[in-house]
């Protein structure tokens, strides 16, 4: 009854996702990540606070992953096993990192922080969200076209 590929089920599932999103978004607001100005201050060495944001978040998620993978059995709402986030390494990882880094350095905005910024009532941020959708679409379109040309089915590990 537990299929790993089928994630849509039930009110409890939806509520837990929503609650997690609310807490996550509250944290993005409190941490200043929802304000591109604060992110840019960090990147320009004027305020190193974001080290604490990413560090604090990674410590909590890291402890949770460690406890769950070692001591817990399966997730109650989906029956999924607990795993760590381990993606395969290939050339795309640093290449994507460079492209992302240029974009982050220009705009001061990343996906989760941009959604959170909407919650501040920051309508100007919709430019960034439009840009992200256009970028994701362009990337998907090009990859799909290439796959069609070469007739190769390339399974990727992206989540």
């Amino acid at each position: 009854m537990s299929a790993d590929t089928d994630d849509g089920r039930g009110l409890a599932f939806t509520l837990v996702i929503l609650l997690g999103g609310l807490v996550f978004g509250f944290g993005l607001g409190l941490s200043g990540m929802a304000k591109p100005e604060i992110v840019l201050d960090f990147l320009q060495f004027e305020d190193f606070g974001l080290v604490f944001v990413m560090g604090g978040a990674a410590v909590v998620s890291g402890l949770t992953f460690f406890v769950a993978t070692n001591y817990l059995d399966r997730a109650p709402l989906t029956g999924r096993g607990y795993t760590r986030r381990l993606k395969t390494m290939d050339r795309n990882v640093p290449v994507g990192g460079v492209i992302f880094g240029v974009g982050w350095g220009i705009s001061g905005i990343c996906p989760g922080a941009a959604y959170a910024s909407v919650g501040l009532g920051n309508v100007t941020i919709l430019w960034a969200i439009l840009g992200m959708f256009l970028g994701a679409y362009a990337q998907g379109f090009v990859r799909s076209s290439r796959a069609d040309e070469t007739e190769t089915v390339e399974p990727t590990a992206s989540d």
């Binding site: 590929t5 609310l22 978004g25 944290g27 990147l43 992302f100 909407v118």
Partner: protein, 165 residues
């Protein structure tokens, strides 16, 4: 000047807004990830929402892979939660209506590259930076080190060119 005073001054220079809201904000971000993970086993990153949501409106095969189509509904819920959580923060702290001064073309152009880069590089600041680092994933460490270094360089160049904000 005593050494202690000196180091306090240096600390204040590094963190002109203090560290409390950054650290506590980070803990909340981690708690959000942990809530979803413990309940569902899902490691939620924020950037896949872009692709999975495109599957509603696009026939491009890349967006219509099973993993995106089956997860797109909860990813919309997750994103609405992020918006709502940030709104709760803004209302509670009297910041609702805050608007960025960063110019629209920086947001649009930078956003475009962010959209491409997260998809090519398999994740973003939450996926690689929080969940991947929390998983002690070497792939994520490589990605985060790369985008941090490049973003710092880029932001310094943009500032040196006199673009503000």
């Amino acid at each position: 000047m005593s050494l202690t005073t000196f180091s306090l001054l240096a600390f204040a220079d590094l963190f002109p807004r203090g560290v409390a809201q950054y650290a506590v904000g980070g803990l909340f971000i981690g708690l959000g990830v942990a809530t979803i993970y413990l309940g569902t086993g899902i490691i939620a990153g924020a950037s896949t929402f872009l692709e999975s949501t495109l599957s509603y409106v696009s026939n491009v095969s890349r967006f219509n892979q099973t993993k995106y189509v089956t997860s797109r509904d909860w990813r919309v819920v997750f994103t609405l939660g992020i918006v709502g959580g940030a709104a709760a923060y803004a209302l509670a702290f009297g910041e609702f209506g805050w608007t960025t001064q960063v110019q629209w073309w920086r947001l649009l152009g930078g956003g475009f590259l962010v959209g491409v880069g997260t998809r090519v590089g398999k994740g973003c600041t939450s996926g690689h930076g929080v969940c991947g680092i929390g998983s002690l994933s070497e792939t994520s460490l490589v990605n985060v080190a790369t985008f941090m270094a490049v973003a710092i360089g880029t932001a310094q160049v943009v500032a040196a060119l006199g673009v503000t904000p």
